[in-house]
Structure formats: structure tokens, C-alpha cells
Symmetry: C2
Amino acid sequence: MILITNDDGILAPGLAALHRELRRLDRCLVVAPDAERSAAGHSITMALPLRVQPVRRGGALFGYAVSGTPADCVKIALGAGLVKRPALVASGINLGPNTGTNILYSGTVSAATEAAMLGLPAMALSLDCFRDPDFRPAASFARRLAAQVLKRGLAPSTLLNVNVPHRAASRIRGVKVTRQGSFRFEDKFVKRRDPHGRDYYWLTGARKVHSRGADCDDRALKQGFISVTPIGYSMTDQSQVAGLKEWDFS
Amino acid sequence: MILITNDDGILAPGLAALHRELRRLDRCLVVAPDAERSAAGHSITMALPLRVQPVRRGGALFGYAVSGTPADCVKIALGAGLVKRPALVASGINLGPNTGTNILYSGTVSAATEAAMLGLPAMALSLDCFRDPDFRPAASFARRLAAQVLKRGLAPSTLLNVNVPHRAASRIRGVKVTRQGSFRFEDKFVKRRDPHGRDYYWLTGARKVHSRGADCDDRALKQGFISVTPIGYSMTDQSQVAGLKEWDFS
């Protein structure tokens, strides 16, 4: 059984494309947010209850729509027994890339991270495109990669963060194993006045700042390669431990 | 100038305690969520506008209440010019510890991570207590640590994740520089029926699973030490890169 989730919501075309390909490998169950939860990061819902609604397609159970975040979906899929221990958790395909420091904000990646935290093989999939997407090349790659993961397994607490360029399969230059780069947006806030005369602010990512390293996720993607990055959830900066021990904490 | 934020909301006693101590070092400005945003992780608000409301205390500007997440607060503080580049960003003091894999869910830690991503020295502070807190020993330590950070600086892209045991200052056994452990909750979901006859689920962290390593954050805390962990936001699992390059992606 493969568990499929995302952060664009259960109705998103990227999820449908992923489902179409992965069901060629194994039975699939979708447990996904009932609406878009982009930029949800690794947030979870504790102060409110969650609703879980079965969704049928063509007479069969397609999955469950959850009134929570991507990480909630993975937690509740297992914690409420919607699915037995799946062989793989696949999250996506996200509309828009998830590279560099942006993966910290990503609900798509966080769902896969949550799965890894629960000891499950997991992958997050994103397409480098924001409008008029063709998910088919990315979905096809997802199936081939999933087949490898099912065969080989993944190291405990490692998941794969996959970004696919938006171009015809024949024009994708290959696959690069990368590291998380320093790609980020330089944020701006637009300040406006609402119809009631009160100010509001709206976040907008103004300028893209790309990584310098040739082995970085955003660079590979920009050059037309599929980027595969092994990531984990250990955030200790080990290089600073020795130096900190010299500090005077008295 | 020190920027103070949190995830328990601008009215939280832990923030007030932190503010009381840090203003002995420098001018302080609070930019914090207008209500509790626990477990917000590194989520940010993109699909909705943000409201920013000035809050005055004793005739002076105390800070701004923001209708968003902890990471939003740091972004908007700088991106909307509420504060010039602060010398330090301090997040907390959180009611409840943030150790092990729980730091992924933590709004307190994510606010400090966001600050580090913006190139600012940052620290997250949490108290190992869920009710009837006395924040004073933790706040006092926060001031001493902040003084060190202001003097020495921090390595770029490193922040300090600080957890303080809930006991009298005289009974705190010292400070340990630790690594992020594997502490986690084993989730359960409670299923109930609402007054309208519809089912809902509620997340509850049933069993605590502690780390084994003696140098782990949760272990130090449990033994009565203040835990200081240097953390970053690079999530690449470098140990898996070479192996992955052998995979057949065709």
C-alpha cells in the first residue's frame, strides 16, 4: 500500500497525476488536506479537532479529505488507522519547486518528513512551474523512483526531496543527487488599505536568490535536471558544539 | 535593539518575563502573534493578508500584535520595517519544552530559525513545564546568554535552542551544550461524536519516547541541566548522497 498526500489539497491535479502513476505499482490510498495548505510547514493541529471525510472515485474508495495540515494527514492516516503501515508515503506533486531554504516552509516536504519520523520510506515531489502545469513527466519519474525505493528501501530517518523541471520528458537532461542549497526569496510586504479603511500587509516573494554550489538543488533544477536530495530532520549544527562549550554561562 | 517574539501569543506570561530581563541589556521591541500559535512549525501566511496592531504599555510602544504565525512575525518585523536590523532575535519563553523531533513542530524554534535565515543572531527559549510556571530562572538565564551572544555573535545560519528545567535557580545543575535528540510523542487520536452527531478526531501525545544519548537535549533537561543546542536549517542527509548516486534512475 502506498499512502499519497500533498499540500495543494485532495482536488489538486498534481495529486491526481501522482496517483495515476503510483497505482501501477501498488494499491494507493490518498489522505490529503480538504483544501490548499501551501506554506503550512511542519505545523500540526492540536487546539482544534480534525474532520475526516471519505472520498470515493468510480465506486471505489479514493481516500480521505482531512481538515488539517499535510503533517496532520500523515499522522491521522496512521494514528487513526485509516491505513495499515504503508510501504511508501509519497507527497505531491506540488505546483511549484521546493528547493533551498524554502523546504522549511513546504507542506509537501513536511508531510514526507513526518512520514520519515514515523519510520516510513517517504518522498516529496515538486514541479518547477506555477501555472499551466503538465505533471506527466514528473509523475512518470515519481513512479520509477518509487519502484526503486520499494526495492531498495531508504536509510532510517532519510526522505527524498525531488524537484522536476517543467519540460517535455525528452528535454529533461537527467537526474542529479544534490544537497539543499541556499535558494530563497527576498521577502517584501505590500501594504494596502481594505474597503473599511484599515491597513493590511501581504507577503510577496520579490527577488529570487540562487545558490552558488553546482551540487545544489535549485541549480540542478535550473539547468534542466531532476534534483533528488536526501534530507533528514536532525537540525543540530555539530560544527558549533565544541566552540559553544567554551562560553561562560555563569 | 532586541526583537522578541513567541508562539504563545503577545499576552503570554513567558514573553513578559523574557521582555523584563532582556530590556536590562538593550531596547526591546515585541512582534508576536495576536493569539496562541502553538505547533505552527515553520508555517507562513501567503493566502491571506496580515493585520498588524500596535500595543502600548505604560505609555510606551511595547510592540505589535500580528494576525499570523511566529515565522510571519519575524518576516513582517523586518520586511515591513517595524524594526531596523535587530542585534538579536529572542523567541519565547515557551510554556513547554522543545526538544528532540518536537522542534520541527515548534513555532518558538521556527521564529528563531526564520531570524537565522535572515542573517540575524537568534535564540529560542522554552521552559520544561506545562502548568503553574515560574519563568524567572529561565528569563534570568536568557539575559545572561543574550549578553554572551551580543558580545560573541553566532556563526551564520546557527541559532541556539535553549530548554530550561522548571526548578529554583539554586537547583538547576548547570548548562549542557547538547544535540537534538530523538525525543518524541507517540501520537494517538481520540475519536468522538460532536453534538450534531458527526465524528471528529483530536490529536493527543500519549507516550513520551526519550533519547538514549547522554548528550541529547531531552536527557540533559530531564537531569536538571539547562540544554543549549546549536541548530541550523540545512536538512541534507550528506551520509546518503554517495549511495543514492548508485541508483538506477532511468
